[in-house]
């Protein structure tokens, strides 16, 4: 990985490096404890306990991080998620993404990234779209 996540290096159309994440009980548990969300139905509404729906937040930035070296100073501006299927604890989610736009507004450069989330069986379980201010250098 040689390019930094800065305005001049991010390329529109970039197919980001896919990342696999195993949703272990430990990882999901640490997330739930951090955001203090122990909603009961996560444990028993489905055949298998699921990650809190907002757990997708932990996954959404990984393709960008795997493709462009993270640089401090960025700011998250907006986010969309479509939660198609629950993310089961014990599953492995592959996150893929594309930089779909980059533009300047009020002296800042913004990048828009669309992401998809597939489980280990290839089922599409979620989609996302984020807009972030990226550092200039």
């Amino acid at each position: 990985m040689s390019l930094k996540r800065t305005a001049q290096h991010i390329v529109v159309g970039s197919q980001l490096t896919p990342v696999e994440v195993e949703l272990t009980t430990d990882l999901v548990g640490r997330y739930a404890a951090t955001v203090q969300d122990e909603t009961p139905w996560y444990g028993d509404a489905f055949d298998t306990p699921i990650a809190p729906p907002a757990f997708i937040s932990i996954l959404s930035g990984k393709p960008m991080d795997a493709t462009y070296e993270p640089v401090s100073g960025g700011i998250h501006a907006s986010q969309e998620f479509e939660l198609l299927q629950p993310m089961l604890i014990g599953s492995t989610i592959t996150i893929s993404g594309t930089v779909v736009d980059k533009f300047d507004k009020r002296g800042r450069t913004y990048a828009i990234v669309e992401t998809e989330y597939h489980d280990q069986d290839g089922n599409l379980v979620a989609r996302g779209r984020s807009e972030s201010v990226v550092p200039q250098a």
Binding site: R30, T34, T39, W41, L83
Partner: protein, 139 residues
């Protein structure tokens, strides 16, 4: 059990949730997220960028709104829930964040009845930090 039903009226307010923000909470979120952006952990760095302190992750605030939506819609939130949010102001250590929501639409779709809600999170001074819209099918 979900609070939202097919009979939920437009205008209904969602029960809110309160969360206290601390730097250790932000630090822990960063560790779980493998995030290294100094905006969240380095006060001096954040101040150089115009903030009065290190700032919380926007998606950490979203987690609070999602918890509110999960309580309201039940498991349907994880089965076809959609959300669109903007992060409009920073969240700082020491803040108390309160989530809010209000039903704005209810209509029948092929797969069932879909409720749409405006959602927001505000700090202890009543200043909004996150705004958006979410929807999900109700049983």
């Amino acid at each position: 059990m979900a609070m939202a039903t097919r009979d939920t009226a437009v205008g209904t307010h969602l029960p809110n949730i309160n969360k206290s923000i601390s730097q250790p909470m932000i630090d822990q979120y960063g560790k779980v997220n493998n995030d290294t952006n100094r905006m969240h952990y380095d006060r001096a760095f954040a101040q150089q960028h115009g903030y009065r302190d290190a700032i919380g992750h926007g998606l950490m605030t979203f987690a609070f709104a999602s918890e509110m939506l999960g309580r309201y819609f039940g498991s349907q939130w994880a089965l076809g829930g959609k959300v669109r949010i903007k992060f409009i102001a920073p969240v700082y250590p020491g803040d108390t964040i309160t989530t809010g929501g209000q039903v704005t639409d209810s209509h029948v779709e092929t797969d069932g009845q879909r409720l749409t809600v405006d959602i927001w999170c505000e700090n202890q001074d009543g200043e909004p930090v996150l705004v958006g819209e979410a929807n999900a099918l109700v049983a």
